[in-house]
């Protein structure tokens, strides 16, 4: 164990993300934004639930989905959420190097997730499950694709933040940015838990 935080830097506040008014605004604003995002995904889930049995001439969910693969990507994304927690804990202790390393691990896991999702989509297209096949396929690609786009945005965002912290250091301007990107990452993770349940598990059994 390294020395406790208050010995490292007396100036470093307990919650650096909320130490300035700008930081507090950023955090509350971001939570509000996630409230809107929850409605966005809620509507997409409702659409998927309404249309998921309308498979037309295309393959059904039970025929398409391969749970071992999905379980693997789920594990990857859950672990990436954990690593982002480690990054924030390091940030609170002002251990810049550890924080950056954990963020890099998070980004790498995000890339793994994206790579496997793209592979999964390509496989489905080969099996005749394209965006235009049926109402089920359209709503599947829209819901899961929206989530994937969020992961891609998050990966790009956190990468930019890593570069910024390297250049400008960790301070009361950069700390709130890192903090909200971690909240965003957890949100993506929670959405995926619902996708795993509603899309994949329910698709397999019902």
């Amino acid at each position: 164990m390294s020395a406790p935080a208050h010995h490292v830097d007396d100036q470093w506040p307990h919650e650096p993300e909320k130490a300035t008014l700008e930081g507090r605004n950023k955090v509350i604003g971001f939570w509000l934004f996630l409230g809107g995002e929850a409605v966005l995904f809620g509507t997409l889930f409702a659409t998927f639930l309404a249309l998921r049995n309308q498979i037309g001439d295309g393959p059904s969910a039970a025929e398409l989905f391969k749970l071992p693969m999905i379980a693997t990507v789920t594990a990857i994304l859950l672990v990436s959420s954990l690593t982002s927690v480690f990054a924030i804990q390091a940030m609170h202790r002002k251990e810049v190097k550890a924080m950056l390393n954990w963020l890099i691990v998070t980004v790498i896991l995000g890339f793994c997730f994206l790579g496997m999702e793209i592979y999964e989509f390509v496989e489905y297209v080969h099996e005749g499950h394209t965006f235009t096949t049926s109402a089920f396929s359209s709503s599947f690609y829209t819901l899961v694709g929206f989530h994937g786009a969020h992961v891609a945005f998050g990966v790009a965002w956190i990468s930019i933040l890593i570069a910024q912290v390297r250049k400008k250091g960790l301070n009361l301007v950069t700390a709130p940015k890192v903090y909200v990107s971690a909240i965003y990452w957890h949100f993506i993770d929670v959405v995926w838990v619902f996708i795993f349940t509603v899309v994949y598990l329910m698709g397999k059994v019902g």
């Binding site: 008014l21 507090r24 605004n25 509350i28 604003g29 509000l32 934004f33 409230g35 809107g36 995002e37 409605v39 966005l40 809620g42 509507t43 997409l44 409702a46 659409t47 309404a50 249309l51 309308q54 498979i55 037309g56 965006f131 235009t132 096949t133 049926s134 109402a135 089920f136 396929s137 359209s138 709503s139 829209t142 965002w157 930019i160 933040l161 570069a163 910024q164 400008k168 301007v173 940015k177």
Partner: protein
């Protein structure tokens, strides 16, 4: 640190401003522009209906007019004028120097503006949305609307809706975090409370319609099957998504009007608002119930008696908190020394007019009766009583009331009163008679009707009323022009009876709002100090250097990027008869270029720190606070 940031002048100042008061004025100008366009569309609709079998416009143009009238008035006319008042007034009422996110505030305005411009460019390009403002499927599908009209609707509203959503988040964060010391939630003026609840409704309602619009866009542009029945799509799904947004939207429109009326009536009755806490509670309750009633727009779809009964009851429940508000306004006036200024005339006339809209609302909420009223002029009369007789009267009241604070000049009062009577009588002439047209069976959205069904004279009266309203609006513009030539010589509190913090600072407001953050000691903070014989607010801080955010062109550029991308996606499959253009659009290069601008600007914003600049105490002294 001071003045390291260049301050722009002229047009660049307006393109780069992050000052909430200037952004408010931009919203007002843009709102007035779109309100004018929507108003002209309304007059054209009424001219077409002035007599039976009229051929002033053809059926297609009529469909385009009603679609664009509804869409423009709701999304591009009413919303920005509300946001204009919220922008200028809310930070002042809570004693803040700025909003929580000045940069995002500018971004919200510009995305809204470019979305609206994109939608209205459809008139110039010649394929106009024509599937009604609700854009029901399958009418709005490629099979039945194969021009670009509905694409303008889906993409324009997505971009402008994004701006509104950003505005909503900004006001929530501002009101939660930026209140002056002592300004607890239960001391906030009613307009701020209404803005708070409205912003929450925006936050939870707009993402739903964004998804709906995206799904419709995917269906139309990329061959999706969400609403395409042969491949398993479901057209009722669109109606659910649209109205889950659409019903909260009408409360997004009316709640700010409730807030304005509360402040205006209280000021010009020289009395504390009656039942303040019940007003707050009623506002919150209306906001909450607003999400529970969407299916009352779908009684005739066939959701079954249980669903219809539940939504019927939920809808009628809203009459309770609304009734609380109506009585509170009446009791506020009771025993007050009422001044009939133009602002107060709009506010007082709002009360009976809105009650009429509310009563027809309860009639429509009764599902069996709705089967008779559905899609007739009775419905048209109902929602114009709530939106024009509610919101627009409220907005006129608010504009007259806060005009001196926004511009430092008082609108001409006698002319304001003439405008009021013209507009108000015109309004009643136009819409009162439409209740009876509807009950007689005249369908809405029909471009003409046969003679001798009892419709002829009533439609004539309605059209005369509409023209009177148009003249009223023109008179208001004349008033604005006359006023703009007068000198700016108003004091802090030009009405003399101001109750809230915006009346403690100069008119127009300096860029830093408050030289010293005020200390709030009770509800109606300024009135309380006046009653205790004080001539200014107690300060919560010594005079010091004030930090200001830097202006930025990035919000404007981001919105331009979205605008370009919107066109890129829309015309990707068109044949321009020009290889270069076909190549650029067909490969989505234009769309990619637009998105690149937007994301590039986001990147710049993230990596470039905004240090802002400081206004030093000496400069505050030089500018001088008016005696």
């Amino acid at each position: 640190m001071a003045h390291t940031v260049k301050r722009h002048r002229g047009i660049m100042d307006w393109l780069t401003t992050v000052d909430h008061k200037k952004i408010g004025i931009l919203y007002l100008l843009a709102g007035a522009l779109f309100f004018g366009i929507g108003g002209i569309e309304a007059i054209l609709i009424r001219i077409q209906l002035i007599k039976p079998m009229n051929d002033f416009v053809d059926a297609q143009t009529f469909n385009e007019l009603i679609t664009m009238h509804g869409t423009t008035m709701i999304f591009l006319g009413a919303m920005p004028i509300i946001l204009a008042l919220m922008n200028v007034i809310v930070p002042l009422q809570i004693g803040a120097r700025d909003v929580a996110f000045p940069f995002l505030n500018a971004l919200g305005f510009w995305t809204f503006f470019f979305g609206g411009i994109l939608l209205n460019l459809s008139w110039l390009i010649g394929s106009v949305p024509d599937a009604g403002w609700t854009s029901y499927l399958p009418l709005a599908s490629v099979d039945y609307s194969n021009s670009h009209g509905v694409d303008f609707y889906t993409i324009g509203l997505q971009i402008s809706g994004l701006g509104t959503l950003i505005g909503g988040i900004n006001f929530l964060a501002t009101i939660i975090n930026m209140r002056a010391p002592g300004m607890s939630f239960m001391r906030m003026p009613m307009f701020t409370w209404a803005s708070f609840i409205t912003s929450a409704l925006i936050l939870f309602a707009f993402p739903a319609v964004t998804v709906g619009l995206i799904l419709l866009m995917f269906d139309r542009l990329f061959g999706g099957n969400f609403f395409y029945v042969p491949n398993g799509g479901n057209v009722v799904l669109w109606q659910h998504i649209f109205w889950i947004f659409g019903h909260p939207e009408v409360y997004i429109l009316i709640l700010p009007a409730f807030g304005i009326i509360s402040d205006v009536v209280s000021t010009f009755s020289r009395k504390r608002l009656f039942g303040y806490s019940s007003m707050v509670f009623a506002t919150v309750l209306i906001g909450f119930l607003g999400f529970m009633v969407w299916a009352h727009h779908m009684f005739a779809v066939g959701l079954g008696p249980v669903a219809n009964a539940l939504f019927s009851i939920a809808t009628m429940l809203i009459a309770v908190p609304t009734g609380i508000k109506i009585f509170n306004w009446l009791f506020t006036m009771w025993g007050g020394s009422i001044q009939f200024t133009a602002a107060n005339m709009y506010a007082i006339s709002f009360i009976p007019t809105f009650v009429m809209g509310g009563v027809t609302g309860v009639m429509l909420a009764s599902a069996p009766a709705d089967f008779q009223f559905h899609d007739t002029y009775f419905v048209v009369a109902h929602f114009h009583y709530t939106i024009v007789g509610g919101l627009v009267l409220g907005l006129f009241a608010g504009l007259h009331y806060w005009w001196p604070k926004m511009f430092g000049r008082m609108l001409n009062e006698p002319l304001g009163k003439v405008t009021f009577w013209l507009f108000w009588i015109g309004f009643q002439l136009t819409f009162f008679i439409q209740h009876f047209l509807g009950l007689l069976g005249m369908q809405r959205r029909v471009f003409t009707y046969l003679p001798n069904q009892g419709f002829d004279k009533m439609n004539l009266v309605s059209t005369i009323g509409a023209i009177m309203m148009g003249v009223g609006v023109i008179l208001f513009l004349v008033n604005v022009v006359i006023t703009s030539t007068k000198p700016k010589n108003l004091g802090n509190d030009p009405w003399g009876d101001g109750r809230t913090l915006e009346w403690t600072i100069p008119s127009p407001v300096p860029e830093y709002n408050f030289k010293q953050t005020p200390l709030v000691r009770g509800y109606d903070a300024w009135w309380k100090e006046k009653m205790e014989g004080n001539t200014e607010m107690p300060a919560a801080e010594p005079v010091g250097s004030i930090h200001m955010p830097s202006p930025s062109i990035l919000p404007f550029m981001m919105s331009v990027g979205l605008f370009v991308a919107g066109f890129g996606f829309m015309f990707a499959k068109d044949d321009f008869g020009n290889t270069a253009l076909n190549f650029l659009f067909g490969n989505h290069l234009i769309a990619a270029f637009g998105l690149l601008i937007t994301f590039g600007c986001m990147f710049l914003r993230s990596v470039k720190d905004d240090h802002g600049y400081h206004i030093e105490p000496e400069e505050l002294e030089q500018k001088g606070v008016k005696a």
